[in-house]
Subunit: 152 residues, 2 copies
DNA sequence: AGCATATATTTCGATATCGAAACATTGGAC
DNA sequence: GTCCAATGTTTCGATATCGAAATATATGCT
């Protein structure tokens, strides 16, 4: 049992569960992110932004915020770097000029469509340790917890 | 289904599962970390270092590395900040002078023993959406995955 | 002893990340 | 039309995070 904390049994169970959740997530990330970086020069957040724009079309920083679960100021930074590297462009919304729209450049589209299958394959590879049933159960419980805690 | 990716059914299941895992982990963190910061002025990594040293006694940066699952250079930075704030001290190991030993100051001990119960309570609170059985199953599957992917 | 290799830590440069404050634009109240 | 509150984005200062290179010490080989 990883937990050294003395508390109620309810607390010990929750902490123990959460520690396993955190370690398992970290393990998958460690399995997967270095390749994204080395093979495609993309950080996790850069990948997330490109993937969102690929699948949803041009998005504002505000929408990207919600999609990638990061703060607005962080999205600004990540998009800055993607723009500098020529993977996305920013354009003001025509009718509401407070809003910026982030779009893929041709190069950006090429990069993300190249990186995506390899990235998915690595995730699938990492999860092969679990049976289909285990993956389904894991997904169901995570979904329940995630939805219950989702902001608003 | 969150996944827009077209791939084999095995890939779709794995990706779908992983996305739920990631979102659920992020949700719990979002529920818990702001309090750690606001109530005790601790970041997640600072908390992790203090907690490890509290429970395991003085540790080298190398051991802290393994415990908190971060790079060596990151541990250096985190310990730098903790030292600056008077929560830990660094001392050279007596026989092997390559090694530094990180210890809690009195103040550090006070801070971590104050923060720990509140932090655990918040985690337990977040996990109450899951039944005991669900927590056990979640923990078991996460452990299996974490162990399978653990380095070495 | 001298030297090469291994181990432990730090430094460096880059990106990520946050919250608060600043800035820009819109839209409603009057 | 003017002002003000709301909305969207960026700026700013701080910490986290990584990998590669530099530094310091130890250890084994000769």
């Amino acid at each position: 049992m990883p937990t050294k904390y003395k508390g109620t049994s309810r607390e010990v169970l929750a902490l123990d569960t959460f520690i396993k959740l955190a370690r398992c997530f970290a393990s998958v990330q460690a399995q997967v992110l270095p390749h994204l970086q080395r093979d495609f020069g993309l950080t996790e957040s850069q990948f997330a932004v490109l993937e969102a724009v690929l699948h949803l079309g041009p998005l504002s920083p505000g929408h990207l915020c919600q999609k990638i679960l990061r703060s607005g100021s962080n999205v600004t930074t990540v998009v800055d770097n993607l723009e500098r590297d020529g993977l996305v462009t920013r354009e003001r919304h025509e009718t509401d000029r407070r809003i910026q729209m982030v779009s893929l450049t041709e190069h950006g589209r090429t990069v993300i469509t190249g990186a995506l299958p390899a990235h998915v394959a690595r995730i699938a590879e990492a999860l092969t340790v679990l049976s289909n049933d285990e993956q389904l159960v894991l997904g169901r419980i995570c979904r329940k917890l995630g939805i219950a805690l989702a902001p608003a």
